[in-house]
Structure formats: C-alpha cells, structure tokens
C-alpha cells in the first residue's frame, strides 16, 4: 500500500507541474519579440535610461565616460553600462539590450548580418579617432637595436623575447581573444621563430607590459593606437609587410600589416529612431585622438573615476562638447 500511495502522490505532483506548464504556455500565446529585450534595469523609477556597451579597452571607456557624463548631467538621463565583448555586443545591440556601441574596430560579418540583412542596427557615424593595430617593442629596446623595427630581423632577436611561457621561441604577446588579430597566421606565414601567447585580457596585458618596462626588459607585443599606455611606456612599431586593400581577405594566408581603421559608432535601430535627445547627442559625439587619450590616461593611469575624468575634460573643453548637444 505504501508504494501505491507514494506513486499516486508522485503522479499528482507531476500532473500539477504539467498543468502549470500548460498554463504558462496558454498565457504565453502571444508572440514575444526577441528584438525588443531591454535591460530590466532600464528606465526604472521614472528615469529615462540609455544603456551603453563598454568595451574592455580604456579608449572605449573614455568615450563612454564622457558620453555618460553629458547624458546624465546635461540631458537628464540615467545611464547603464554593460561590459560585453565585441561580437556579443553586436548581438546585444540588435536585441535592444544595449542602445549604443561607442567604438567599433570593424566587424564586416556583423555589419552584413545586422545592418544589411536584419536591419536591427544602424551606423552612428565616426568617433573621430583612427585606430591602428600593430606589433610593438619598447622604445628603450628599439633605440639600442634599431634594426628590430623591421620584421625581417625579428628572428635574430627571438632569444631576447623568450619567456617561460613561450618555450624555446620568442614571445609575441597578444591580448584578449576577442580582439581582431591575425598574429598566429602572421607568425606562421612570415616564418617567424615566435610563439603567440595570449594574455587573455587587456588588463593582464597592460599589467605585464608595465612590469617589463619597470625592469627595462625587451618584449614584443600586439598593441594598438590610440592608447594611453604609450605615454607611460613609449613603444615603437615593428614594420610588417605593407597593408594593401584585400591582402587580409583570406585569414589563413595573411602576410601583411593591419589596416588603419576610422572607428565607428553603432546604434540599435529602434533607439536611433525613437531615442530622442540621447540618440541625437550620441550621433553628434565626435572627438579627436588627443582628446580621447587625455581622458583615458586620467582613468587608467591616474586611477580617477571615469566620472571625475569626464568632468575634468568637460571643464577644459566646453566649446567641443557644447557642439554635440542636440539643437533646439
């Protein structure tokens, strides 16, 4: 008898769970729009909210810091920031989880998919900064060995760049796996005696570069401009075979340097249309490399809060940011 009643209880439990699920299914008969999935924290307590995606490098944080400060203090918005890697950020933008990406380094596949095909994302114009990725050695090392700045001589110096992580080869330090990189293919195709070691995140890479610099040790790293770190650790670019349009078409066969990319802003299509003052302001936001570096350096090196850094920059550059505010 004992087992039978347990079994009926069990059936009842299962039945009620089933009923619950059915109820859920019934109540959910309408269509759910996966392209309108705002963050639960947005527009809370009567405040208008803009959600910005923050990329992990400090330049993007500087863009966001200044935009955030103006949105908050001058336009009366509440700003939510979410840190997401570059490609998932495009997806989040298309779903409306974030309203804007402030600095994109070029993702042709994503542009095709979301802007041209699905039309859920629209371009937001230039940031005003041109980005360039390359290989760098510290200037103190380049001065002592001027010929290291040509890729043809890199093999000669491989032993100087050796670390415990690179085995017997020289170490080429890369950063986060999310960053645009052809380094593994380049090392292979240019017959270099190097091993690409991924630091795993920009933070780890910066920390390591600063440590090397403190000891005046030689190192070779994937790095990019604009970047505040150049002010602290001067670095010299290593010349790779020149970039020509289309030479990076086949990722396996790349043998050339990285291009110079004018960095772009992108908005969720719905936000661009109905985002009011916030969207109008973000569209007009455009500043120079020097401006961005100034704010980046305050945030990352002087450890100021992004808010304080933005405040200081705004105080010194009134004419620039006043021009971004929506007119009327």
């Amino acid at each position: 008898m004992g087992t039978r009643t347990t079994r009926t209880t069990c059936t009842r439990v299962i039945a009620s769970v089933g009923a619950g699920a059915a109820l859920l299914a019934l109540s959910g008969c309408g269509k759910a729009d996966m392209s309108k999935q705002a963050s639960p924290y947005a527009n809370a307590a009567g405040a208008k909210t803009v959600t910005l995606s923050v990329q992990s490098w400090v330049g993007a944080q500087a863009d966001v810091a200044v935009a955030e400060y103006i949105l908050k203090e001058k336009l009366g918005y509440r700003v939510d920031k979410v840190q997401i890697d570059e490609i998932p950020a495009w997806d989040a933008l298309s779903q409306g989880r974030v309203d804007a990406i402030m600095e994109d380094w070029g993702h042709p596949d994503q542009e095709q998919r979301y802007i041209k095909d699905k039309k859920t994302i629209v371009p937001g114009g230039d940031v005003g900064v041109t980005g360039h990725i390359g290989w760098y050695v510290p200037t103190y090392f380049a001065k002592k060995h001027p010929d290291v700045t040509d890729w043809k001589n890199l093999n000669k110096y491989a032993k100087d760049f050796r670390t415990p992580e690179s085995g017997g080869k020289g170490q080429l330090m890369d950063g986060s796996p999310s960053y645009v990189t052809n380094d593994k293919a380049l090392v292979e195709n240019l017959d270099l005696d190097y091993k690409v070691v991924f630091a795993g995140s920009e933070a780890a890479q910066i920390t390591q570069i600063e440590q090397f610099a403190k000891q005046q040790k030689p190192f070779l790293t994937y790095w990019y401009k604009p970047q505040w770190l150049f002010k602290k650790v001067p670095m010299t670019e290593v010349k790779l075979p020149a970039y020509k349009e289309g030479c990076d078409a086949d990722p396996e066969k790349i043998k050339c340097a990285y291009p110079h990319t004018p960095l772009q802003k992108y908005f969720n299509a719905d936000f661009a249309k109905n985002g009011g003052d916030a969207a109008a302001f973000l569209k007009r936001f455009k500043w120079s490399e020097a401006d961005q570096n100034e704010v980046s350096l305050m945030i990352a090196d002087k450890k100021m809060s992004p808010e304080d850094a933005a405040k200081r920059w705004l105080a010194d550059n009134e004419a620039k940011w006043k021009a971004w505010l929506p007119r009327g």
Binding site: G2, T5, T6, T8, T9, C10, V13, I14, V17, L24, G28, K31, A32, D33, M34, S35, Q37, S39, P40, Y41, A44, A45, V54, S56, W57, V58, Q61, D80, K81, V82, Q83, I84, D85, I87, P88, D91, Q95, R97, K118, P164, E165, S176, P177, S178, V197, F198, A199, G200, S201, A203, A204, Q205, I206, T207, Q208, Q211, K214, Q215, A300, K303
Partner: protein
C-alpha cells in the same frame, strides 16, 4: 558534513587490509584487460597523442547551429512562443524586484534586512545585516548592489522552485531518485564557466541568460537536499500519520515536508551561496550589477575599484549565509519563544519598521544613497598593491621575487608535468585513469572516468586538455600541501582556528575574478598566475574540511596513543591522519573541483588551454571553439571527480 566524517573511524584496520587486498585484485584484472587490448590498439593507431582517426570535427555543425539560432531568433515559433516569453518573464520579474528595492530606498532596504534578520536570527545578526548594507552604500555601490540583489532574488527563487520539484520527485520515487543522482552529481562538478556560451546563444547577452546560468548552477543542492530530507523522514511518524488515515497529499504536506524543514533550509542556504558565486562569472555575459563593476574595474587594472565592488558581494554572502544558517539552527532547537514579539506580532512590527523607514526616506527625499556619504577605498588599495608589486615582484634578496617564483614554477613544475602528460601514449593515460578511479570507487565510476577522458580525445582537444590538467594537478598539489599544513595547525589550536575563520570566509566568498589581476601583478602573465589564483580560492575549503576531520577523531584514540608514549608527531601520523582519511579524501575531491573551476577562468590572465578556448568562443561568438572547450572542461571535471571520489558520495560541493 557531519555524516560525511562520523561513520568510519573505528573500522579502519580490518577494512583497510581488505580494501588493499581488493585493490590488488582490481589492478590485476585491469592489467589483464590492458595486456589484451593495448597491443591491438597500439598496432592500429600508433601515436603518442590521441589518434586523428578517432576524432570527430564538430566545428561545421556547431557553426551552422549557431547561425541558425541567430537567424531564426526573431521568427521561429520556439523562440517567439516559448523562449521569448521565458526571457520576458525573467526580465519582468527582475525588474519588478528592482523597482521595489528602489522604491524602498536605502533606508527601507536596510531596515527590512535588519528586521528580517532580527526575526529569524536574533539581534546580533540584525546589526550585522544593517551594517553590511550600510557598507555597500558607503562604498558607493548601492545601485549595483540592488541590481545584484534583484537578480539574485529571482535566480534563487527559480532555483528553489526547480530544485524542490526535482527533489520532490526524487524524494517520493526511488527510480527517479536513482536516475537523478548522477545528473545532479554531474551538474555540480561542471565549472560554470563552461556552459555560459550555449545559454548566451539562446537568450543573448544579458539578464535572462545570467539568471539561467545561475539556476543551472544553484538548483542541484536544493534538489539534493529536498530529496534527502523527504527520504529521511522518520518511519515511525510516517506510520502514525498513515494509520490516522491521511491521504498521500496530506502526509506530504503535514508530515514529510515539515519533517524535512532543516534540510530544506540547508538547501536554501547552499543555493544562495552558489547563486552569489555565479554573480561575477555571469558578468562576462552581461548580468550587470556588482559583478559587472568588478569586471569593468579589472579591465582598467583598477584592483581598488574591483575590491570596492567585491566587498558587497562578500557581505551579501556572509549575511545571507549566517541568517539562513541561524534560522536552520533555531528550527532544530525547538525552544519556546517567550518574548512579547513572538509570532505575528513580531512580524507586523517588522513590517511597520520597514514601512516607516521607507516612507521617512521618501519624504526626506533621500531615496538614493547620498553621494557625499561615499568613501573611496580604491586609492589606498591601489597604493598598497603598487607597493607590493614594486617590492615583491623581483630581485628580493635571498628568497627571490614573486616573478622569479612564477618563472621557476612554470619551468620546473608546470612544463615537465604538461610535457609528461602530453608525452604519455594516449591509451596509457586511459589506463591510469581507470586504475585510479577503480581502486578508489566502483567499476561504474571507473567507466565514467575513462569515457570522459576518451570524449576529450574524440573532441580533438587532447593536448589542450592535458595542458589544463597539468595546471590542475600542480594547483591541487600546492593546495593540499598548504591546506593540510594549515588544517593540522588549526585543528591543534582553537585560537588559530578562530583567527582563521573570518579570513577563510572572505577568501571563500570573494569572487574569483578579484584575484586575477593582483596575481598578474605579482606573477606576470601565463599559467602560473592562473594556478596561484586557483590555490587561493580552493585553500579555504581544504583547510576547513581538514580541520573538521581531524577534530572529529575520537579523543580516546589519541589519548590511548599518547599514554603508550607516542610523540605528538606520531599521534598525528599514525592515529589522527589515518582515522581522518575520509575527511582528507573529501578535501582532495573538493580541492580538485574548485581548482579546476578557477584554472579555467585563468584563461583571462594567460592560462591558455581550455579556459582560453571557452573565452575565445564567448568573445567571438564562436560556438565550435567555445562549446567544445566547455564540454572538454566538463569531461575533465567528471574524470577528476570520479578519480578522487570515494566509493559512496559523501558531501556536497561548497560544503
């Protein structure tokens, strides 16, 4: 835990001999199997690493699957009529809780936390709770704390409901119980990092994905403990209730569930702790809140700011742990409450106080935490970190700097272990795994372990997995040496144990990410910092279990050994350690699981191998790399768990 260590002490000598005997039999059997199989296998696929002929390339189907999901997410019925609603429901409920918390204002929330703690756990914890929330505000983290709290509330509720349903089914039905156990075991061994990607693909970046990842991680302890509580119901009481003519449902509601109250509360406690430990990992997929602040601060190498966001997580964890723990103890104590505020009166007073505080802050227009009350701790912390880095990194006389240690550790420990593992013929590794798992467990556990290891080969990530494995082994070795040493010391001195307790609490609840950047600053980029971060994270659990295990060795046994003239060292080695063997094995098992969980996050600081694959998959939306890496981590976890798990499973993860 108590059941874990109490049962074995006395029967060691007899069983021990038998066990050794049985182990020999098992090994002989295995040797026979190997003698037959190895020559055949070796003739067919002679290669050191896993043979290519036995691999499956999943990158194309997985890539297609991921494209399909992204292209059909806005139109396919599965999403439009089901997953979309689930996602909306999560967003709505998180939003609802968040709005309530904001409406209550900081005063209301703090008051509510204090009075609830007072009602369930007494005055002392009420003060702790109020102080904890105050500190969250002081650190300038009020809004992120509320976001995390809202997300946690929903995730914990969902985990509890799901866990209880599963637990009910398993508690009432033997077959379900048997089927569910391996599933729950597996879920608890999975490092959370491994399954972020599939969740993200379905729900996109953001809160719904974070809640789901959290539920997968946090529901198993609830399910397990519910089932345990229901099955453990006193037979006599059940008999009595049945003889009174109660129906099945009545017996469940009026006898079984109430009798299982303690286990249910313990389950709730475990679920909350696991959910909180996910808060930061989930920030990688856009959960927002405190975890996101930790993650952002680390991106700008700002350890101070990361700590400012990490402390509220620790505080939330400590308060919730103590309050639910105290509630559990009170339930057991059965003391008659004689105060004026017992029962409904106490609760209505609590509600009134909360309401008053919320309204007061509303009318004073002080809903948000005042900015002038924020204390900046980031700067001094960073100064301290910089000092450490400047003075410890390299060139310290005699002992050498931390960077030198890391370099030596990499060259003399990690490299040889990795190269050794990768150099072994693949079938010999399978044999080693089989032997270890069989000697310590049953043939089923051995089979699971071998299959898990073989799956890694089939997925074509053999070398990367062995790289990760070498890091885990090195990390576990360091953790065990340190953990046993500290544990032995703590078991001999109550004072040391008391001193250690808050330190262990902090290290155990501090999000793993917070360790990552300081370890890079001290040890450079690479595998070494990943291993050290893992050691820091796994150490508290190992120390705790060791201390407790040694403490529970019967004093009589130790006394008699001493009276026979044994020295302290002899007592420890010949009486205490052998008698505490089950606890030490459990410590080993926990150490392995926890080290693996952090070593894979080490991908963020240059740990490479599987952690890097998962990270790269997440960052590039590349399901093939990420998912295969994730599955390999899961297989590695399963294998390691089975190899270190004594015959019967004894305790839960995070115990």
């Amino acid at each position: 835990m108590a059941t874990a260590t109490a049962s074995t002490p006395v029967r060691d000598t007899g069983i021990g001999a038998l066990l050794r005997h049985r182990a020999v039999t098992k090994l002989l059997l295995l040797a026979v199997v190997a003698a037959v199989a190895v020559p055949i296998v070796n003739a067919k696929w002679a290669s050191g690493a896993w043979p290519d002929a036995l691999t499956v390339d999943l990158s194309e189907p997985l890539g297609k699957a991921s494209d399909w999901i992204i292209d059909n997410r806005d139109s396919h019925p599965l999403f439009v009529y089901f997953l979309g609603h689930v996602s909306n429901a999560v967003v709505l409920s998180v939003r609802g809780v968040y709005l309530v918390l904001l409406a209550a204002g900081w005063a209301g929330v703090t008051a509510a936390a204090a009075v609830v703690a007072w009602r369930v756990a007494g005055v002392k914890l009420a003060a702790t709770a109020a102080a904890a929330f105050g500190i969250c505000g002081l650190l300038g983290m009020w809004v992120p704390t509320m976001q995390t709290l809202a997300l946690m509330t929903v995730a914990v509720l969902a985990s509890v409901v799901l866990g209880m349903l599963l637990g009910l089914a398993a508690g009432l039905n033997d077959r379900v119980f048997r089927m569910m156990r391996p599933v729950l075991d597996t879920m608890q061994v999975l490092p959370a990092f491994a399954y972020l990607l599939p969740v993200v693909l379905v729900f996109g970046i953001g809160v719904p994905a974070a809640v789901f990842a959290t539920v997968v991680y946090a529901a198993p302890p609830m399910a397990r403990l519910t089932a345990l509580g229901l099955r453990g119901a006193d037979g006599g009481v059940m008999e009595a209730v049945a003889s009174l003519g109660a129906t099945g449902r009545q017996r469940l509601l009026s006898a079984r569930l109430p009798l299982a109250r303690k286990e249910l509360l313990l389950g709730l406690n475990q679920t909350i702790m696991m959910a909180l430990s996910m808060a930061v990992i989930a920030s990688v997929i856009g959960a927002g809140g405190l975890g996101d602040r930790v993650y952002q601060a680390l991106a700008s190498v700002d350890v101070g700011q990361a700590l400012a966001a990490g402390i509220p997580i620790v505080l939330l964890a400590v308060v919730l742990d103590r309050v639910t723990g105290a509630a559990g103890e009170r339930l057991g104590a059965q003391t008659e409450d004689t105060s004026v505020f017992r029962g409904w009166r106490g609760w209505s007073l609590a509600a009134a106080v909360t309401l008053a505080a919320a309204l007061a802050s509303r009318f004073a227009d002080r809903l948000e935490w005042p900015t002038s009350w924020v204390v900046q701790i980031a700067e001094p912390v960073n100064t301290a970190k910089d000092w450490m880095v400047d003075h410890l990194y390299t060139g310290v006389p005699v002992v050498g700097g931390t960077a030198d240690w890391a370099a030596h550790f990499t060259t003399y420990v990690l490299d040889p272990v990795r190269d050794g593992l990768q150099g072994l013929p693949w079938w010999s590794l399978l044999l080693i795994v089989a032997a270890l798992a069989w000697v310590i467990g049953t043939w089923q556990t051995a089979l699971t372990a071998v299959l898990a290891m073989a799956a890694i080969g089939v997925l074509d990530v053999w070398n990367a997995s062995l790289d990760t494995l070498s890091q885990v082994l090195a990390g576990v070795a360091v953790t065990l040496v340190l953990g046993f040493a500290i544990g032995v010391a703590a078991s001999r001195s109550r004072r040391l144990e008391r001193l250690l307790r808050p330190v262990l609490d902090v290290f155990q609840t501090m999000p793993q990410f917070v360790y990552l950047i300081p370890v890079v600053a001290l040890f450079g980029v690479g595998r070494a910092p990943a291993v050290f971060a893992a050691v820091v994270y796994a150490l508290p659990a190992v120390v705790r279990i060791t201390t407790q295990g040694l403490r529970q060795v019967s004093p009589a046994a130790m006394e008699s050994a001493k009276s026979l003239g044994a020295t302290n060292w002899q007592v420890l080695r010949q009486v205490q350690l052998p008698l505490a063997r089950p606890a030490l094995l459990l410590a080993l098992n926990q150490g392995v699981v926890l080290v693996l969980a952090v070593v894979v996050i080490g991908g963020l600081v240059g740990g490479g191998a599987l952690g890097y694959d998962v990270l790269a998959g997440l960052a590039r939306g590349d399901l093939a790399t990420g998912l295969v890496g994730g599955i390999a981590i899961v297989c590695l976890g399963l294998m390691l768990d089975r190899v270190t798990q004594p015959t019967e499973r004894r305790a839960k993860k995070g115990a």
